[in-house]
């Protein structure tokens, strides 16, 4: 599928914002020493989420009809996303602005952080469900999608929080959140590995037999013009990634989302603040790459009918030259591989 800017921004930034809120909220309740982070965290989350939210408006190609977007809350995860993200961001705004206007007791701050965290989780879940509940998107149609999408947000948001601490203390943050982050990154590696496998399986999983009523024997598209690239009107079947390009992209994602941040956060190499800051930065970039791949590498069920779809060779057929064929080749003076 063609990844679009607005979708990258909304899904990644909403997640990061959520991760940020959750991590600062957790610190508020677990590490009183780090309570100072909360207002700042909420601010950050608000700004990040707003950028995502505004960007998402650009995904609407006809904003005029935007007023109808909540019409199908009963069935549409997109309606629900509009609602949940639509509640989450204003609530953040309130939490950010109110303390500037009135004095708020720390307790209420804590409660606010819990509410924000809850809303963030709901919004993240709803957004992820939007993707996970589409059977036609073979690679997404799994709970892994929800787990992965939320996890990326949580880990990247937490990394930002930890980076902020590192900058403040000019060193290694330490503490339970630190461990959680490292653990979370390892788990993320596992999730992405599973998801990678799921994507590959999805690529193979649509069958000629059910897609055409033909036996599953080797089949070949006789592509004419309108079942071939570039599908400008068929955004869901954007050209498949070439295998080489896919490998490179996954590698870059693995490095930026997981390995490099992890290494920077674990191994002492230089001034911790820079390392932590760059780890968080790289991870957020990694999240964007992850999301880009998530869109670009998805297999839509209709790919089976389009010209650049992977051709599955038969497991039983062979093009070995039969004795009869070899005889006929000889008759006309041809031999195998004689470079005619």
């Amino acid at each position: 599928m063609r990844p679009t800017g607005p979708l990258l921004l909304i899904t990644v930034l909403q997640g990061v914002s959520g991760g940020l809120v959750l991590s600062v909220a957790a610190l508020w309740w677990l590490m009183p020493a780090d309570r100072w982070l909360l207002p700042m965290g909420l601010w950050g989350a608000f700004v990040i989420a707003s950028v995502g939210g505004v960007a998402s408006l650009f995904h609407m190609h006809k904003p005029k009809a935007g007023r109808f977007i909540l019409r199908r809350l009963k069935t549409s995860w997109l309606s629900r996303e509009a609602l949940t993200t639509g509640i989450y961001v204003p609530v953040l705004a309130i939490l950010v602005i109110v303390p500037h206007l009135l004095l708020v007791a720390p307790f209420w701050y804590g409660i606010g952080s819990v509410i924000a965290s809850g809303l963030a989780l709901i919004a993240m879940y709803v957004t992820a469900m939007l993707y996970a509940t589409i059977p036609a998107m073979r690679s997404w149609h799994t709970p892994l999608t929800v787990v992965s999408m939320m996890w990326v947000g949580l880990v990247a948001g937490t990394a930002l929080t930890e980076a902020r601490i590192a900058i403040a203390i000019g060193g290694h943050p330490g503490g339970p959140l630190h461990l959680a982050l490292l653990g979370g990154t390892v788990i993320l590696a596992g999730i992405k590995w599973l998801q990678y496998r799921y994507f590959s399986e999805a690529r193979q999983a649509i069958h000629a037999s059910t897609g055409t009523g033909m036996p599953a024997a080797p089949y070949r598209l006789i592509d004419s013009g309108t079942t071939k690239l570039p599908y400008r009107t068929q955004t869901q079947v954007w050209p498949s990634l070439e295998p080489g390009r896919r490998a490179v992209l996954y590698m870059v994602m693995g490095l930026s989302l997981i390995l490099v941040p992890f290494v920077l956060e674990v191994l002492p190499m230089g001034p911790r603040a820079i390392e932590w800051a760059s780890a968080a930065g790289i991870m957020v970039c990694g999240a964007f790459i992850e999301r880009w791949i998530f869109f670009a590498d998805v297999t839509h069920s209709s790919k089976i009918w389009f010209g650049d779809e992977l051709q599955r060779p038969s497991s039983v057929s062979s093009n070995r030259v039969s004795p009869d064929f070899a005889r006929r080749l000889k008759q006309v003076g041809m031999h195998r591989h004689d470079g005619l």
Partner: protein, 955 residues
């Protein structure tokens, strides 16, 4: 030059107008209803009542909208920019007075001195009756339409066997057939009628067998695909007949009653009588009765024996069928397997299937009819085995004989013009061959005079050839010793002959509706060079090239003068019985075109322009005693008659002053309007008793003679054995008393190939020694969505197909070490080119193929020079040999030695990996006539004033 009035049409409630006309997006000529809304075409759909398409229409037909609005349209007369070279496309707009004046000047001079100096050739032309008449009145022998590079083998093979053929001349009766074999037909021929018919066959559960090296299109629906090696169908057919005879599964009665198979042939080697029928003093063929008595054919009433040897007045004679059996003796399935690649078992089974179906499961229609012997048949017996064939047989240099074989096979099965078999379309059957002949003497083509006879026809003996000694009279060498039965002319010979001034040079080459600088030419780069070649003084070897076209084709770039034609939706026109009729087996039919939209101001219908030129030149019958006879083509269609007062004209329906006469009647000055008001066509259904066995159906023959389809109600006895061919063989052997050639080469050809009985020989290219290195045959197929080069300027059609790989069987590819998607060289005897390889299991391993005419020269057709048609599509015509490397005198084209049919599908190639990863060869980009089109970024066509804009221009 009025174009008549634009018809008002019928208004529908939504304010749109519906106008009936005939499609021209291909040669099928379906009836279409064009809905016009806000002066734009809203919809094109099929006319349900039309006998051709019965309400359906194809992708091309519907996309006619985009053809009308094509940016490649020529909108004004053009002349070559002074100083610019031919082929560069540098043309400048001018006005009609200027171009008509120029062309008139050239033609006047030619006509005054030597009318042969005008060569007028027309391509996918649907007004051949008019064009042929025009050229005849001009007085040049050098006119023909596209048949030479198209399917003259098919047409002539049928005409010389049964007085009809496939396509416009006859047709498989799939309403009654139980078993249908289609040989060498691609995806779309003829488009809608065959699709409708196949669907009916399928509905009825008939069995469908396709014989073709490639499986696609219609072939996809076949119950059985018989992959055959190209050029070997003749052997396949003979082997089928071998089995039919051995298993006694053939229709003796039919052969004896309706064909000349029992006719006695004289065995007199070394004399002029050899191989000729034994005849009585009245010129009647004689046959032997079982009693041994020898009587005239008609007298035997179908009892003449098929086998035996007799002596008549000291002359050894044998029934023609007996002679054929000698040939069949060696044509065993095993022999055919070696040549065709079709297993012996399959050949035997197929023969038995068709034989059993024909002989043991006949259809009987409760229709009584009377035959030429005066016998009345209470029922009509049909053999429900039908065949259809086209260029897969025709476009080989052994095609004529292969097609003769196919028709003889049909005779053996008793399935010519019977229910469930092959059925004629009116005005066929004609006498075998039809009784029209071109005038054979040089003196028949005199300055300032009309030619003595129609320019094309059917020679019956060597004496009918257009030769002076060994020298051809026509520039294309049609009806010469090299191509004696060139019934459609030999358009593909013209450019090289004019260039090499063999048999003579010409002054003006006029091309109408043929893209001879590209897809209808072979050895294309050389041919293009020849079109633009100059002598030492710097004068073009072909001094003047006039192109009449509607679009900016590759050929337009080679014109000195371009006369822009209307589109098919802007002119009056007719699909005539005088031409290639739209008749169905049920009876004669014809149709008209009428203007749906007004043409651009600078454009005039080609026929109107030709009439204007003819009038200025005062050609006979165009100007009579100083009086202009035809105002325009509208007028011509209504008032022209084959001979003044004959009552037979372009349109057969609604004749007579009040429009009440059919087929024969005085001209009707409201004829076109009446057609226009009646869904644009006319058809007449034959009474049931005259629908079958028409060559021998007494009532039909009488009716056909009244209708002037035939001269007299004489029976038409089918030519199982072709005495006509034998006369040419005798000429080759030096035994014919009349005209005979001196040249050893042609004599040898005549003696070898003019066999009166079908035979198989390897296509001429396969006989070329150098071709041993080139083991594969390269073919093209027509895609359903494109009509030759006409589709690529159509915004919708070109999306359906705009590049073409080379399809190869993966087994072959692997054995050559090639893989899917890779760039390869395709090399033939005359050159090489690149393409990308695509695996396909739907092609026989020794064949490679690609789509026909998708590639375009950069800068032509209103397309971006970087359009996929120019950068990713390939034209295999570049490497198809146009001439044979034989050592005889002069140029020998890669044509069928009998008819001159171009041997497109004989080209042999080898395929190997290429380091060049782009289309090669490429011709230089030319200047397009209209570069505006490239700026159109988005096309959102609509006729709704509120809807999207037409051709919205953007960034």
């Amino acid at each position: 030059m009025a174009i008549g009035n634009i018809n008002e049409g019928t208004n529908s409630p939504d304010g749109a107008t519906r106008i009936h006309t005939t499609c021209y997006m291909c040669a099928c000529r379906c009836g279409i209803e064009v809905t016009v809304e806000n002066d734009r075409i809203r919809f094109i759909s099929g006319i349900p009542e039309n006998p051709v398409n019965r309400g359906v229409w194809c992708a091309k037909g519907g996309a006619g909208i985009m053809t009308e609005y094509s940016p490649a349209r020529l909108t004004t007369p053009l002349i070559r920019e002074p100083g610019a070279e031919r082929g560069t496309g540098k043309l400048v707009p001018t006005d009609w007075d200027t171009v008509l004046g120029m062309v008139e000047g050239w033609l006047r001079e030619i006509r005054r001195t030597d009318p042969r100096q005008l060569a007028y050739f027309t391509g996918r032309d649907q007004m051949q009756a008019f064009n042929g008449f025009w050229a005849k009145q001009f007085g040049t022998p050098n006119w023909a339409a596209h048949g030479g590079f198209c399917s003259v083998n098919m047409a002539a093979g049928g005409m010389y066997s049964v007085g009809g053929s496939f396509w416009e001349f006859g047709w498989p009766d799939l309403d009654h057939a139980r078993w249908f074999m289609m040989l060498g037909v691609a995806e779309d021929h003829p488009s809608n009628p065959l699709k409708l018919a196949i669907a009916r066959l399928k509905d009825r559960g008939g069995r469908f067998v396709v014989v073709n090296p490639i499986r696609s299109g219609y072939g996809a629906l076949a119950d059985e695909w018989v992959p055959i090696r190209p050029g070997t169908d003749g052997a396949f057919i003979l082997a089928l007949m071998h089995v039919l005879y051995r298993e006694q599964l053939y229709d003796r009665d039919y052969l004896m009653r309706y064909t000349n198979a029992p006719a006695l042939v004289q065995m007199a080697p070394g004399t002029a009588r050899d191989g000729m029928f034994l005849k009585n003093s009245e010129g009647e063929m004689l046959v032997a009765l079982p009693s041994g008595a020898i009587v005239p054919y008609m007298e035997a009433k179908g009892h003449g024996v098929l086998e035996g040897a007799f002596v008549h007045e000291g002359q050894n004679v044998r029934p023609a069928f007996s002679l054929f059996l000698e040939r069949l003796g060696t044509a065993t399935p095993e022999w055919a397997e070696r040549l065709t690649g079709v297993p012996k078992k399959t050949i035997i089974r197929l023969a038995m299937e068709m034989g059993i179906t024909a002989m043991q499961h006949p259809v009987m229609l409760p229709v009584a009819w009377q035959d030429m012997y005066g016998d009345t048949h209470q029922e009509t017996l049909g053999r429900p085995v039908a065949f259809h064939a086209m260029r897969g047989l025709a476009a080989h240099t052994n095609g004529f004989q292969t097609i003769r074989g196919l028709f003889d096979l049909m005779m053996m099965l008793g399935t010519v013009d019977v229910p469930g078999g092959f059925r004629y379309k009116s005005p066929y059957p004609k006498p075998i061959p039809p009784r029209v002949k071109p005038a054979p003497n040089p003196t028949d083509y005199q300055p300032s005079m009309a030619a003595k006879a129609p320019l094309l026809g059917y020679p019956t003996t060597p004496d009918d050839l257009l030769v002076e000694g060994d020298r051809p009279i026509r520039i294309d060498e049609a009806y010469s010793w090299k191509y004696p039965l060139a019934a459609h002319g030999v358009i593909q010979n013209v450019i090289r002959n004019a260039y090499s001034r063999e048999p003579y040079g010409i002054d003006t080459l006029m091309i109408y509706m043929a893209n001879v600088a590209w897809n209808s030419t072979w050895n294309t780069l050389t041919t293009r060079d020849m079109l633009a070649a100059k002598d030492e003084e710097g004068n073009y070897l072909i001094p003047h090239v006039v192109v009449i076209d509607a679009y900016d084709s590759e050929t337009v770039a080679f014109a000195d003068v371009v006369l822009p034609d209307t589109t098919y939706l802007e002119r009056w026109d007719a699909a005539s019985l005088q031409d290639r009729p739209i008749s169905e087996p049920e009876g004669p039919a014809d149709s008209i075109r009428q203007p749906v939209l007004a043409p651009p101001a600078g454009v005039r219908p080609a026929a109107d322009v030709l009439i204007e030129l003819a009038t200025r030149l005062e050609l006979p019958r165009f100007v009579d005693k100083g009086v202009r006879q035809f105002r325009d083509y509208y007028d011509f269609i209504q008032t022209w008659e084959t001979e003044p007062g004959s009552g037979v004209g372009i349109l057969a329906g609604r004749r007579g002053q009040d429009g009440t006469k059919n087929l024969v009647g005085e001209p009707n000055l409201h004829q076109l309007q009446t057609y226009a008001n009646n869904k644009a066509f006319w058809s007449y259904e034959l009474p049931e008793a005259t629908k079958y066995y028409r060559m021998a159906n007494q009532k039909y023959l009488e009716w056909a003679s009244d209708a002037k389809f035939i001269e007299s109600p004489e029976p038409i006895i089918l030519h199982f054995y072709s005495e006509v061919l034998q006369t040419f063989r005798l000429a080759g052997q030096g035994l014919w008393p009349g005209k005979k050639p001196d040249d050893f080469g042609v004599r040898n050809r005549l003696a070898t190939y003019f066999d009166p009985l079908p035979l198989w020989y390897p296509p001429l290219e396969e006989q070329v020694e150098a071709n041993r290195e080139f083991p594969l045959t390269i073919l093209t197929q027509r895609p359903m969505t494109h009509y030759h080069s006409w589709g690529s300027h159509n915004a919708w059609l070109r999306q359906l197909l705009h590049e073409n790989p080379l399809f190869m069987n993966p087994k072959m590819a692997e054995s050559l070490g090639l893989c899917d998607g890779q760039w390869v060289w395709i090399e033939s005897r005359i050159g090489k080119m690149t393409a990308t390889l695509r695996y396909s299991d739907a092609v026989e391993p020794f064949t490679v193929w690609t789509w026909n005419a998708i590639a375009k020269g950069p800068g032509s057709w209103g397309l971006d020079p970087l359009a996929p048609e120019a950068t990713r599509a390939v034209l295999i015509n570049h490497i198809i040999p146009d001439t044979l490397p034989v050592g005889y005198e002069g140029i020998w084209y890669n044509n069928d030695p009998i008819t001159g049919q171009a041997g497109w599908y004989d080209a042999r190639v080898k395929v190997y990996a290429s380091d060049v990863h782009e289309v090669w060869p490429q011709v230089a980009a030319r200047t397009p006539v209209n570069a505006e089109a490239l700026k159109i970024k988005r096309l959102a066509y609509s006729t709704q004033s509120s809807g999207g804009n037409h051709a919205r221009r953007g960034g």
